[in-house]
């Protein structure tokens, strides 16, 4: 009821971007902090390896995160609204399998793109309908569809692979727009702006924050909560379809194990970007910087031939650190006050 009271006293409804906390000012500068980490990683990498500062190498490095980041943008909105979608990597597998199947039937590139986007949309709609229509918790629903979608790919493909994608289809994942600037990177930059505008400058974006902070209050203030959430699942599904097109194009082949384990990397990217895993706060610029940090860390470690296991450990520690840091700081502040 606090929302309606706020309405009476203040005609302009103020919904905070972030949860109120003693650390609001620190959280407000989260992106600055992350940017500092990004710059530090960049500088350390350039000192650690003589090969880091090479335009083509940096361009190659962007492929480590562009596809995951495309999904992370949509996932950020979903997590801000208090939901999650763990089936995104499996949607990639299913969309890629459908595109591979279409190739066998003689489909050309435009049809393949439509198939990829369409399957993504359908998967998103399926998740959204189960969550908003039946009121099931999204984490349970999408753990289920995670197995379901990839399971279909395994049934269709088994240990086989679809290949033979048309030559012009390779542009999405292997093409360059200008010099070292790849198509994927342009798409990443474009989507970053689009999602930033959507979340931070539109009524829809405000509604997403409100729902994440107080779903009941949102309902009472006239926001059609199920409809917004359904739209977010659709959006996540479509962006998974876009990522499927890019990844399939880059690999030139589809196997049911494609993009295995990406859902966790996408969620890691979102949380590292400062989005509260419980919903209600977070920004797109934060996710963009987090994408750069993760991409540069993996590439920098790769240049030093650090084994992948060590990389996973580092990313894990980074994530725990990022989540724990505000809490530790809050306790210390509270202790000082007490």
């Amino acid at each position: 009821m606090s929302v309606s009271q706020a309405n009476e006293t203040n005609p302009v409804r103020q919904v905070p971007d972030r949860l109120r906390s003693p650390l609001q000012r620190l959280l407000a500068s989260w992106e600055i902090l992350l940017l500092g980490v990004a710059v530090a990683v960049f500088v350390l990498n350039s000192f650690a390896s003589p090969y880091f500062l090479d335009p083509w190498n940096l361009s190659d490095a962007t492929f480590n995160f562009t596809e995951k980041a495309l999904i992370a943008f949509a996932m950020a909105l979903l997590i801000v609204s208090g939901e999650i979608d763990l089936s995104v990597a499996s949607i990639i597998a299913l969309a890629s399998t459908a595109m591979g199947f279409a190739v066998q039937l003689g489909a050309e590139t435009p049809t393949l793109v439509l198939v990829g986007l369409g399957v993504g949309l359908l998967c998103g709609a399926f998740n959204g309908a189960l969550v908003t229509g039946l009121g099931l918790p999204s984490i349970v629903v999408t753990i289920g569809t995670m197995s379901l979608f990839r399971g279909i790919s395994y049934i269709v493909l088994g240990d086989k692979a679809y290949t033979g994608y048309p030559a012009d289809f390779a542009f999405f994942g292997q093409g360059y727009v200008w010099w070292v600037i790849s198509f994927e990177f342009v798409l990443f930059a474009f989507m970053a702006v689009l999602f930033a505008v959507l979340l931070h400058k539109t009524n829809f974006g405000r509604a997403v924050y409100v729902i994440g902070n107080n779903p009941v209050g949102a309902l009472f203030s006239g926001i059609r909560v199920p409809r917004v959430k359904f739209a977010l699942f659709l959006l996540t599904g479509v962006m998974s379809g876009v990522a499927a097109i890019c990844l399939t194009s880059r690999l030139g082949a589809t196997r049911p194990s494609i993009a295995f384990g990406w859902e966790l990397e996408v969620v890691t990217m979102v949380v590292l970007g400062g989005v509260n895993i419980l919903g209600g706060s977070g920004t797109i610029p934060g996710v963009v910087i987090a994408a750069f940090v993760m991409g540069m860390v993996t590439f920098g470690f790769g240049l030093l031939n650090v084994p992948g296991i060590v990389m996973s450990i580092f990313i894990g520690l980074l994530l725990i650190g990022v989540i724990a840091l505000p809490r530790i700081a809050r306790r210390m502040l509270a202790a000082r006050r007490g």
Binding site: L35, A38, V39, F42, S46, S49, P50, Y51, F52, L53, D54, P55, W56, N57, L58, D60, A61, F63, N64, A161, T163, A170, G173, Q174, V180, A192, L247, R250, L251, G252, A253, R255, S257, I258, A259, F260, G261, P285, V288, I289, F292, T298, F299, G302, L303, N305, P307, G308, I309, M311, S312
Partner: protein, 330 residues
């Protein structure tokens, strides 16, 4: 964001101005495996280091993803391209998905070969098979014959009747069996690569052919089950189980005498040969083209077929003299 972009741009420009660091004299050869932490590949890396020591001016970069995914291997390959390594020798997680990344490597002057698990022909210069069907077919009957100087009845315990690999090997074996006089192949049975079914089929063979001297199982499941059946029937010493198996699974049966020897490719030799081949191609000592013979140190030389593929050697024989060295490896 803006800051980062301008920083990126600035450093990119700076990188253009700074001269590329001088290439060291040593050849850097990357051994890319399906995933790190697999005994078979750790052994291959050991072989690669052996080759590097022998060659002198070679640095081995042993690397691979955490999971056996194509995407993980592509990230690793991109990092290797960026380091301007001299050669990449890869055991592929996906024969098609790696092709674009490896093509890029070759465009930038890096020697690319595949070994163990191959890459489609346009994604590598040559592929090193651990062995060939003909060599395996010959080896499995030779293993049985070696311990039967006076000849005798032998039977084959295969995987399923439709298993392509096993059928090809048995076919190749039948082509050369006349070279082993006195060896009588009396039956071929199928255990479907199931432990319990293979066990029962082996029991059946011993009952149907009381004079049976050897069971040849060209499958790692079948050979273990057959050896177990022989042990349980207390016929160790009378019936010799041989074929293709893994040292870790067969060590106990070698000790008990149910199996005198068996074969499988030697990962150390494989890593050694892959390194030698990559070195010779990168150094310009040889060219990968159909019919070429490329030297690979102590392993002789690799003859390439029309598809630029070649077979390394006979499968390596494991017996009581060397099993302890390999049983912890794979």
């Amino acid at each position: 964001m803006k800051l980062l972009k301008s920083l990126l741009a600035a450093t990119a420009v700076a990188a253009m101005c700074i001269a590329v660091p001088a290439q060291a004299e040593t050849k850097r050869i990357a051994l890319v495996v399906k995933a790190l932490g697999i005994g078979f590949f750790e052994a291959a890396a050991k072989g690669a280091e052996e080759a590097a020591k022998e060659l002198g001016d070679v640095e081995i970069i042993y690397t691979g993803p955490t999971d056996t995914t194509a995407e993980g291997q592509i990230e690793v390959i991109n990092a290797l391209i960026a380091q301007k390594v001299d050669a990449i020798a890869v055991s592929a997680n996906d024969q098609d998905a790696l092709v674009p990344a490896l093509k890029k490597a070759m465009q930038r002057g890096i020697t690319v070969i595949s070994w163990d698990s191959g890459v489609a022909a346009d994604g590598r210069q040559l592929h090193l098979n651990p062995s060939s069907n003909a060599l395996i077919g010959n080896m499995i009957i030779k293993l049985a014959a070696d311990h039967l100087p006076d000849g005798g009845d032998v039977a084959v315990l295969s995987a399923s009747a439709t298993a392509t690999n096993q059928n090809t090997w048995i076919e190749e074996m039948n082509k050369v069996k006349d070279n082993y006089p006195g060896i009588n192949v009396v039956a071929t049975v199928y255990g479907d690569d199931l432990a319990d079914k293979s066990y029962r089929e082996a029991q059946g063979l011993m009952q149907s052919y009381p004079d049976l001297k050897a069971i040849i199982a060209p499958t790692s499941v079948g050979i273990v089950a057959a050896a177990q059946a022989v042990s349980d029937a207390e016929k160790a010493g009378q019936v010799n189980v041989t074929g293709l198996g893994l040292p870790s699974e067969m060590a106990g049966h070698i000790d008990s005498g149910a199996s005198k020897s068996f074969a499988i490719w030697n990962p150390i030799d494989l890593g050694y040969s892959a390194t030698m081949l990559a070195y010779n191609l990168a150094a310009g000592n040889a060219e990968a083209k159909p019919g070429a013979e490329i030297p690979m140190g102590r392993m002789g030389s690799l003859t390439l077929n029309d598809n630029n593929e070649g077979a390394m050697a006979d499968p390596f024989v494991y017996d009581s003299s060397n099993i302890d060295d390999f049983k912890d490896i794979f």
